[in-house]
Amino acid sequence: EAGVAQSPRYKIIEKRQSVAFWCNPISGHATLYWYQQILGQGPKLLIQFQNNGVVDDSQLPKDRFSAERLKGVDSTLKIQPAKLEDSAVYLCASFGIMNTEAFFGQGTRLTVV
């Protein structure tokens, strides 16, 4: 089966600019996650979708971050405006009912300068 697709792979922006990341999970996977991984730290869950509904966004900085999964398939994560501390790798993962593990994309490395 095809894996989790993310784009872009790399992005460099200036602080206060906006940026968007895209994720296409494995076909049929109902659960989709966005994680933020800052260098030297473990992945931190930003938001979790079950189909097109948000089930956990408790750690999403909602004043600047937003995410959607309108049709319950692919998802976008947006940052507006970006801050220096948003520099990180943004990981998307999906989990299917019939699976026993989450599958991760390659991530988007964001550098805010």
Binding site: Y35, G40, P43, E101
Partner: protein, 116 residues
């Protein structure tokens, strides 16, 4: 809410040495446990997982982990490491929340450097 702690942030050892990485979690209910590895410049890959049954789990590349329920631990081991095991290792816990799917939480990671 569940949490995961990994005791060692950095481990340095020589080839052929044995490796053990500690992982403890906090959650009173049923959990599924994972170890992921991230090689330099690469994405997360699953090393092994525990769902039920034998608490000693064998994974890829000679790694194994033991689930000790009474200690809320899931330590990773490898009897003899190779230079290619240089990577960052993450312990993760998932709990199943009805109608919300699996909530997957990671530890802070342990960076392992194997000297040739």
């Amino acid at each position: 809410a569940q949490s995961v702690s990994q005791h060692n942030h950095h481990v340095i050892l020589s080839e052929a040495a044995s490796l053990e990485l500690g992982c403890n979690y906090s959650y009173g209910g049923t959990v599924n446990l994972f170890w992921y590895v991230q090689y330099p410049g690469q994405h997360l890959q699953l090393l092994l997982k525990y769902f039920s049954g034998d608490p000693l789990v064998k994974g890829i590349k000679g790694f194994e982990a033991e689930f000790i329920k009474s200690k809320f631990s899931f330590n990773l081991r490898k009897p003899s490491v190779q230079w290619s095991d240089t990577a960052e290792y993450f312990c993760a816990v998932s709990i199943m929340i009805k109608a919300a799917g699996n909530k997957l939480t990671f530890g802070g990671g342990t960076r392992v450097l194997v000297k040739p």
